[in-house]
Structures are given as structure tokens and as C-alpha cells.
């Protein structure tokens, strides 16, 4: 008797989007409440892990044809790049800049290089976690 994964797959689709949303939320919320690049990235990674468990790697990669190694590298590049970015402005390495802007509809918005930095962190986390799991799973 074959395994019928209908229940799991149906729920997983739903859950995946919940987690995804949560990941994005955590990423942006980190500034003022728990969360941030690491948490956001990790949660995002775990969402992908869920998909990989429920489906199979080939299926997911077809829908998501990304080289996660490069995602990780790009993330790290963003983080390190923020460090170098400060040099352009003559500031000390890794000096973060932030300011508040008033934007219609959204109210006061904070724009900060930390966000770029943390985006790097998040991407790196996602990239690495997925790279690790896929590398092992694809081993012959």
C-alpha cells in the first residue's frame, strides 16, 4: 500500500505560507521586538525544510530554481559589503546609518543600513541551511 500524503501536503501548503509570512515579519520586526536577520532567515529556512520534507528535492528545485550556495554567498556579500560601504563615506568600517522618513500611508518609516546588513544575514542563513541539507541529501 502506497503512502497517501494528501493530508500532509495539503496542510503543508498552507503552513508554508504562514511560516513564510512570519519569517518576513520577524525579519522586519527584529528592530523593535524579537526577531531580526537570524531569526527571520532561520524561520525562512525552516519553511523550505518543511517543503523539502513534504515533497522532494527535485520538485521543489523545479519550482524554485535557485543555487542556494550563491544565495548564501550573496547574503554574506551584503553583510560584508555594508562594512565596506561605510568606508565610502569615510566612516569607520561597519558604521551603520539610520534615519526616519515620513511616508504617506505608512507613517514614520525607518530606513537603515542595518536592514541591508540583516538582509544579508538572513539570506546567508537561508542559503547555508538549505545548502547543507541539500548537499547531504544529494550525496550518492
Amino acid at each position: 500500500m502506497k503512502i497517501n500524503n494528501i493530508i500532509l501536503r495539503t496542510v503543508a501548503k498552507l503552513v508554508f505560507f504562514i511560516i513564510l509570512t512570519l519569517a518576513v515579519y520577524l525579519f522586519f520586526a527584529g528592530h523593535n521586538s524579537p526577531g531580526g536577520g537570524f531569526s527571520g532567515g532561520l524561520v525562512l529556512a525552516s519553511a523550505l525544510v518543511l517543503l523539502f520534507i513534504v515533497y522532494d528535492i527535485e520538485t521543489i528545485q523545479k519550482g524554485l530554481p535557485i543555487d542556494f550556495k550563491l544565495v548564501a554567498a550573496f547574503g554574506a556579500f551584503l553583510s560584508v559589503g555594508t562594512g565596506f560601504g561605510a568606508l565610502v563615506f569615510g566612516a569607520n568600517f561597519l558604521t551603520q546609518a539610520f534615519d526616519y522618513f515620513d511616508i504617506p500611508f505608512f507613517g514614520e518609516i525607518e530606513l537603515t543600513t542595518v536592514t541591508i546588513f540583516e538582509a544579508g544575514v538572513a539570506l546567508a542563513v537561508v542559503g547555508v541551511v538549505v545548502t547543507i541539507l541539500l548537499s547531504i541529501s544529494e550525496d550518492e
Binding site: 520577524l26 527584529g30 528592530h31 523593535n32 521586538s33 524579537p34 526577531g35 531580526g36 536577520g37 537570524f38 531569526s39 532561520l42 524561520v43 529556512a45 525552516s46 525544510v49 520534507i53 550556495k69 548564501a72 554567498a73 547574503g75 554574506a76 553583510s79 560584508v80 555594508t82 562594512g83 568600517f93 561597519l94 551603520q96 539610520f98 526616519y100 525607518e110 537603515t112 542595518v114 546588513f117 540583516e118 544579508g120 544575514v121 546567508a124 542563513v125 542559503g127 547555508v128 541551511v129 545548502t131 547543507i132 541539507l133 548537499s135 547531504i136 541529501s137 544529494e138 550525496d139
Partner: protein, 804 residues
């Protein structure tokens, strides 16, 4: 301006150029170019004789490492000049000889490179005032000697000989270096002249005697003194010009030079006297005694060299007694020994150089040096025979050769020293002339053996590789010159005595010279019927007797069989060292991770725990704790139980489930400890880790029961508890000893400073963003690294070779 320093470096320069000369000049023997170096140096140095003999010393300095007072100071006084002339003079002759000795088929470029390296180093040794620079050159002589001994490195014996000489001489050198460092620390200078000037202030220092012994160790090893002499016979694997030059005329004299140089520092100490004299006298005897039984001509000469070096050494020892007394008429008597030592040093170079060259000639001619195969060469090689006879008779201390003069002076010194009433010489002093005399008898015997066995008796052509014949005339030039010098020095000894040795004496007895003492001695062949003459006559008579009755008493050598010799002992020590090191190292380097863990944890328990107890760090009172709610108790207890259960987990899945529980437990503790970000991250990481384990489990085997012995288990348990206890104890100690507020108040303004309300996030993203950035890199390395580890797999074939 710094011509003298330059003189030292010219041979090095030559050494650098020779390989190119050799490569590009094919038609002419490179030796002809090389010989210009020592010849030029000799002429230059000789031109300095008038200055030096006038009592001047030349000092020139080139800075090397001035910050540490390590400068190349060339210092030329009588002592240095004497040796420098020997080095360049004999050097020139040896090179001349080698041009005929070494065929063009040999890698002579390399040969002369080494030789020039040696010559420069040797000049450096005798002309350096700075102890450390002296050491630099000292080691260079050892190395060049090593290279020359192993010139025919394809032969195992060459390699062994080179190795032995290197180990012994370099070890001695290192010991000498430590001695120098001690002297430097005491006197606060590296300059030998300055040390000598300040010797009064350091002679009571606790390190004075250790330094003395260490320096002597260097001297003894280099000059092949008993029991370090064993390298010298093996060094005879070198080409004969090398033996003539390094291993009889010059390098082995470096140790003697060192003793002479440091006599003003250490002379007058009983330890110095007995060590130098005693070792020297015994070496004199031991060398001569063993020379007799040799069947290889070069080996015979090697032991002879050992013996002669011992003799010179002992004379320097006896001479040093003068410094014990200070400048007085009585002490001046003892300085005679030093004078004799210096004189014999020169003489030995002439006759021994000649003899080695003779052996080379014979070897070259008939293809063997074995005296059992030789004999009757007198008619076929008359010139060679003549030189051999001159050399041997000088060596045996017979007139009219220079060896006679210095041997007589030696006997006088041994007798004089028995008169002394200090250093326990009243009781033990008498041993010195007795041993000296016995050794001289053996010297006579082997000298006779050398000539008789080689040149007299029946000619056994069938045992030779080639029929005997005189060599090319060029090959004989150098031995003839040396042989002539042996005779010339006998007749006009005072030319050297006045111009070189007397100034050298001032260097050895500077305090005496300062007080205007006449340190020179007129050398006479005829002293009248004094005890020394009778001693010489006795030597000849007994020597002759022993020579002819050899087969009756040679059984005595069985008392000193090969298998109990120092040589064997040396081999045994090395073998044992290698074997035992393997055994010892294998014993603890088990290549078993568990043992490594035991080492780490045992270290942690013993050293950290030990310090904890030793420093009484356990004396603390715990600060007031936050109260513990029932929930917290339950969580902590559950975690403890979970942790302990992991130890008993039979399956890896159970283990990882338990680990997950621990992770959740940590997360809830983070919640209880007000760390939401941590709880968040911990939870996700824990789950991802679990997935990771499960993914990896696919490739891993199931847990098996650890069939460890009860004993191992209890050791493991003991260690584990120990680590836990130390860990906890120190943690509690730290809690009980908080001295400062943390710097965290700063971060409470995270909103104003970094625009974020979440302090932890502000720290990670801004205050300590550098950590975070690097952490991302760590992750990246792990991620890409894992990909790489899985992708890069060994090819099967190459694995087999490498995995042996």
C-alpha cells in the same frame, strides 16, 4: 677600512662565485682560481705580522644587529693571526694539492664551494671578538665540515661519518652558545675583549662555572677530546685534502683556539685547569694508544690527531695555572706550557698536513690505505717516503724536526706543573708527566708503524689496486713544502716564536702583558741533559721495544673490544633514542579520540581544578539568588533527567529525540531568563539541527552497545563528574566574586544610539555588528564547506598510495 672583515668574507664571496665559474669554465681546473683566495689572504695576513708582533691588535667592526650588540668585530691579535695564517697558508697548500688529487670527474665545484665556506667560517672563528658572531662562524665550520665529510654522499659510511660529526660538534656548539649567553648575561656584553676586561666582576657569579663548563664542552667536541673524539676517525671518509685541512690542521684547532681565547676569562679556576689538562692528557694517551692498532693509514692519523690535540689542550690547561697565581716569577714558569702549546699547534699543522697528503698520495697511487696490504713502497715512491719519514719523526718528537722542540717543551711543562702546590697538584700532579710520557711512547710506536709498514718490508703488488708509482709532481709540491717547514721550524723556531707566538701569549695573558711581563721564550733544541731529554730518550727506547714486540702485547687491545667502545655506545644511544622515542610516543599518542579527550579533560580537572584549590578560589559567598518557582524546578529537573537519559540511549533516534527535548528546555529557560530572541533562535536551530541529524543518519550506522570495560567506564564517569564539578565550582566562584557592573547600561539607549528598541538586535546589527558579520562568514564557510566536503572525494587509486 674594514679590510679585515672583508678578508673574512672573501672566501664566502668565492664560495658564491665558484659554482658559476665551475659551470662556465670547462678547460681549467677551478682549483686554480680558488687557490688565489687563500694565497691572497695569506699574503695580506702576513703583511700584518709586523704590526701584530709589535703588540698591536687590529679591531674593525661592521654592524650586524647593533640593537642587541651583535656586531661583526674582527679582532686580530697574535693568537688570531697565528691561526689565520695557518688557515690561509695550509689552505693554499691543500687546494694546490687537491687540484691534482681530485679529478675533473668529481663535482669539484661543490667541493671548492664547501671548502671556501669553511675557510671563511674558520677565519671568522679566529678573528671574531663578538661571542655570538664567533658562534655563527663556529657552526658554519661544523656545517661545511659535515658537507665535506659527506662529499661522497652515496657511500653510507660517508653519511654516517658526516652525521656523527655534525651531531657532536653542533651539540657542543649549542652548549658553547649557552655558555656564551651566560657570559653575556653576566658581563652584559658579547665582546670577548670586554668580558676579559671585566672578568673580575663576574668570576664570583653563580653562573661562572656553568658557563665555563658549557664553553669547554664546545671546545672539547670540536677538538675531538675524549670522549667526543669518536667523530674524528669517521670523518676520514672525507677526501684526503679535507682531512689534511679541516680534520688535522685547522677546524679541530678551533676548540683549542677557544680554550686559548677564554683562558684569560676562566684561567686560574681549578675546574678549568683540571678539565682542560685532564681531558687533554687523557685524550693524548687514548689517541696514541688507539692509533697503534689501526690498520687504515687515515684512521691511524686520525687517532694521532686526537692524541696530538689532547696534548695541545693539556698544555693550555697547564698554562692556565699561571693565572691562578697572578703575575709573579713562579707563575711565569707555567706560561711556558701555553707557549709550547701554541708552538706545537703550528708544528702539528705542518707535519700532520704533510702526513695526510702522503696518505693521499699513497692511496691515489696504489688504491688502498690498508697497512696490511702495503709495504715496500720506499723504492717506488722515494720522495713520498722522505716526506712521510720527516712527518712521522716530527710527530714522534725526534730531532731535527719541529715536533721535537715542542715535545720537549711539553715534557718540561708537565714536570713544572708537578711542582705546583695548588689545585691539589701536590698529590695528583705527578700523574701528568707519567701519562704524558706513556702516551709519547705510543706516539713513537704508531709513527714508526706508519713509516715502516707502508714503505719498508716486502712490496705486495698483488694486494694493491694499482702498481705503486710516484704521483704527478704537482701533487707532491704541497707535502714537500710542509715537510720543508717541519725542518725549517726546527732550525729557526724563534722566527715564529717572536713574531707570532709571543704576541699571541699577550692575548692569553693580558694581565701579565699589562704588567710588562716578557711572555716570549727562546726556543732551543739543546737544553742540556735535563729530565726532558731523558724522557725523550726513554720514549725512543721503549717505543722501539714496543714496536718490535707488538705481537706479544697487542692482546691488550682485546681489553678494549670494539663492542664496548664509545663508538658503539654512541650508536647504541642513538638507536635506543629512536626506539624508545617511538615506544614512548606511541604509548600516549594513541590516535584514539577518547584518549585525547581524556587528556584534555584531565588537564582541565587537574590544572584548573588544582589552581582553584591552590589559590583557595573556593572561598566565596554566593550572591542572593532569584527565587525558583516550581515550574522552573520542574523544567530543570526534566532537563537533568533528559540529559542523563541520553547516556543510556540505545538507539540514535532516541538520543536525538532526547537532544531535541534538551534544546526545547534550553529555549524555555531562555524565556524564563528574559531572552526572547534567544528562545526564538534556539527553537529554530534546534529543529533544524534535528532535521540535520536525521538527514545525516541516513548515511550513518545505528548506535551499538559500547563494549567498554567496567574500569574504562568508571574512569569515564570519574572524569565526567570531575569536569562537571570543576566547571560548576568555577562558575559559582565567579558568581560569588563579581567585582564590577557590566558595560551593558550603554546598550539600554539602543533606540537613541542605533535606532532600534530591541537591544539584542541592536547589539547584533550595530554595536557588535562585526561579530555578526563574521558569524555570517562562519556559517557561509560551513555551508560551502559541507558542499565541498561532499563533492571532493578521493579517487580510489590515489587513496591506496596515500593511505598506507
Amino acid at each position: 677600512m674594514s679590510t679585515l672583515v672583508l678578508a673574512i668574507f672573501i672566501p664566502f664571496l668565492a664560495a658564491a662565485i665558484i659554482p658559476f665559474l665551475y659551470k662556465y669554465i670547462k678547460n681549467i681546473h677551478v682549483g686554480w682560481f680558488v687557490i688565489l683566495v687563500p694565497t691572497g689572504l695569506f699574503i695580506y695576513l702576513a703583511s700584518l705580522i709586523p704590526d701584530i708582533s709589535g703588540g698591536e691588535a687590529i679591531v674593525q667592526t661592521i654592524n650586524w644587529i647593533p640593537s642587541y650588540g651583535i656586531n661583526i668585530t674582527a679582532y686580530l691579535d697574535g693568537l688570531s693571526l697565528t691561526l689565520a695564517l695557518l688557515i690561509s697558508g695550509v689552505g693554499a697548500l691543500v687546494i694546490l694539492y687537491s687540484i691534482y688529487y681530485l679529478s675533473l670527474k668529481e663535482p669539484i665545484g661543490t667541493f671548492y664551494t664547501y671548502l671556501m665556506l669553511f675557510m671563511g667560517a674558520m677565519l671568522g672563528v679566529v678573528m671574531s671578538d663578538n661571542m655570538l658572531v664567533l658562534y655563527v662562524f663556529w657552526e658554519l665550520t661544523s656545517i661545511s665540515s659535515f658537507l665535506l665529510i659527506a662529499f661522497w654522499y652515496q657511500r653510507k659510511r660517508s653519511r654516517e661519518g658526516a652525521k656523527k660529526s655534525l651531531i657532536i660538534t653542533v651539540s657542543g656548539g649549542i652548549s658553547m652558545l649557552v655558555g656564551f649567553i651566560m657570559i653575556g648575561a653576566m658581563a652584559n656584553t658579547w665582546s670577548i675583549r670586554e668580558v676579559i676586561a671585566e672578568v673580575a666582576s663576574i668570576s664570583d657569579h653563580a653562573l661562572f662555572i656553568p658557563a665555563l663548563l658549557l664553553v669547554l664542552l664546545g671546545a672539547f667536541t670540536k677538538s675531538a677530546q675524549f670522549p667526543f673524539h669518536i667523530w674524528l676517525p669517521d670523518a676520514m671518509e672525507a677526501p684526503t685534502p679535507v682531512s689534511a685541512y679541516l680534520h688535522s690542521a685547522t677546524m679541530v684547532k678551533a676548540g683549542i683556539y677557544l680554550v686559548a681565547r677564554f683562558t684569560p676569562v676562566f684561567g686560574g679556576e681549578a675546574v678549568w685547569f683540571w678539565a682542560v689538562t685532564g681531558v687533554g692528557i687523557f685524550t693524548l694517551f687514548w689517541g696514541s694508544f688507539n692509533a697503534v692498532r689501526q690498520t687504515d693509514l687515515k684512521a691511524l692519523l686520525a687517532y694521532s690527531t686526537i692524541s696530538q690535540l689532547g696534548m695541545i689542550m693539556s698544555m693550555f690547561g697547564m698554562g692556565s695555572a699561571a693565572l691562578h697565581l697572578g703575575y709573579s716569577d713562579e707563575s711565569m714558569v707555567y706560561t711556558g706550557a701555553t707557549f709550547a702549546a701554541l708552538f706545537h699547534l703550528v708544528n702539528h699543522s705542518t707535519f700532520k698536513g704533510a702526513l695526510f697528503m702522503v696518505v693521499g698520495v699513497v692511496d691515489h697511487s696504489v688504491g688502498t690505505r690498508d697497512i696490511r696490504r702495503l709495504g715496500g713502497l720506499i723504492t717506488l715512491m722515494p720522495i713520498t717516503f722522505t716526506i712521510a719519514t720527516i712527518g712521522s719523526m716530527s710527530m714522534a718528537g725526534l730531532p731535527p724536526f719541529n715536533g721535537f722542540l715542542s715535545k720537549e717543551m711539553f715534557f718540561i711543562s708537565t714536570l713544572d706543573i708537578t711542582e705546583a702546590s695548588f689545585f691539589g697538584l701536590g698529590t695528583w700532579g705527578i700523574i701528568i708527566p707519567i701519562v704524558a710520557w706513556i702516551a709519547s711512547v705510543f706516539t713513537f710506536v704508531y709513527s714508526t708503524v706508519f713509516v715502516v709498514k707502508t714503505f719498508l718490508g716486502p712490496y705486495k703488488e698483488e694486494k694493491l689496486e694499482h702498481p705503486a708509482h710516484e704521483p704527478k709532481p704537482g701533487m707532491l709540491i704541497s707535502p714537500i713544502v710542509l715537510g720543508l717547514l717541519v725542518i725549517i721550524f726546527f732550525f729557526v723556531p724563534n722566527v715564529i716564536g717572536k713574531n707570532l707566538i709571543t704576541p699571541a701569549m699577550s692575548g692569553i695573558f693580558p694581565t701579565f702583558a699589562a704588567e710588562g711581563a716578557d711572555l716570549g721564550t727562546d726556543i732551543y733544541a739543546w737544553h742540556g741533559f735535563e729530565p726532558e731529554l731523558f724522557m725523550t730518550i726513554g720514549v725512543v727506547l721503549f717505543g722501539a721495544l714496543l714496536f718490535f714486540s707488538r705481537k706479544y702485547w697487542s692482546g691488550i687491545y682485546n681489553l678494549f673490544p670494539e663492542k664496548r667502545s664509545i663508538n658503539v655506545f654512541y650508536g647504541f644511544v642513538l638507536d635506543q633514542m629512536e626506539d624508545k622515542s617511538t615506544v614512548i610516543t606511541n604509548k600516549y599518542m594513541t590516535r584514539y579520540l577518547r584518549d585525547y579527550m581524556v587528556y584534555i579533560f584531565a588537564f582541565f580537572i587537574l590544572v584548573v581544578g588544582g589552581t582553584f584549590i591552590y589559590t583557595e578560589a573556593y572561598q566565596f559567598t554566593l550572591p542572593e539568588n532569584a527565587t525558583i518557582s516550581v515550574f522552573e524546578w520542574l523544567i530543570v529537573l526534566s532537563m537533568m533527567a533528559t540529559g542523563i537519559t541520553i547516556l543510556f540511549a540505545q538507539s540514535r533516534l532516541t538520543a536525538i529525540v532526547l537532544n531535541s527535548i534538551l534544546g526545547f528546555g534550553i529555549a524555555i529557560l531562555f524565556v524564563l531568563l528574559r531572552a526572547p530572541d534567544l528562545a526564538l533562535t534556539q527553537t529554530v536551530i534546534e529543529a533544524v539541527t534535528t532535521v540535520l541529524f536525521l538527514v545525516a543518519y541516513y548515511f550513518l550506522p545505528e548506535l551499538e552497545k559500547e563494549n567498554t570495560s567496567k574500569k574504562t567506564k568508571s574512569i569515564n564517569l570519574f572524569i565526567s563528574i570531575g569536569v562537571g564539578v570543576v566547571f560548576t565550582a568555577v562558575a559559582l566562584g565567579v558568581q560569588g566574586n563579581r567585582g564590577f557592573d557590566t558595560i551593558s547600561g550603554f546598550f539600554e539607549n539602543s533606540y537613541e544610539l542605533a535606532g532600534g528598541n530591541n537591544m539584542v538586535n541592536a547589539i547584533l546589527g550595530d554595536f557588535r555588528a562585526f561579530d555578526t558579520m563574521l558569524e555570517v562568514v562562519v556559517l557561509l564557510i560551513a555551508g560551502i564547506g559541507i558542499y565541498t566536503m561532499i563533492r571532493v572525494k578521493a579517487k580510489k587509486e590515489s587513496d591506496q598510495i596515500e593511505d598506507k
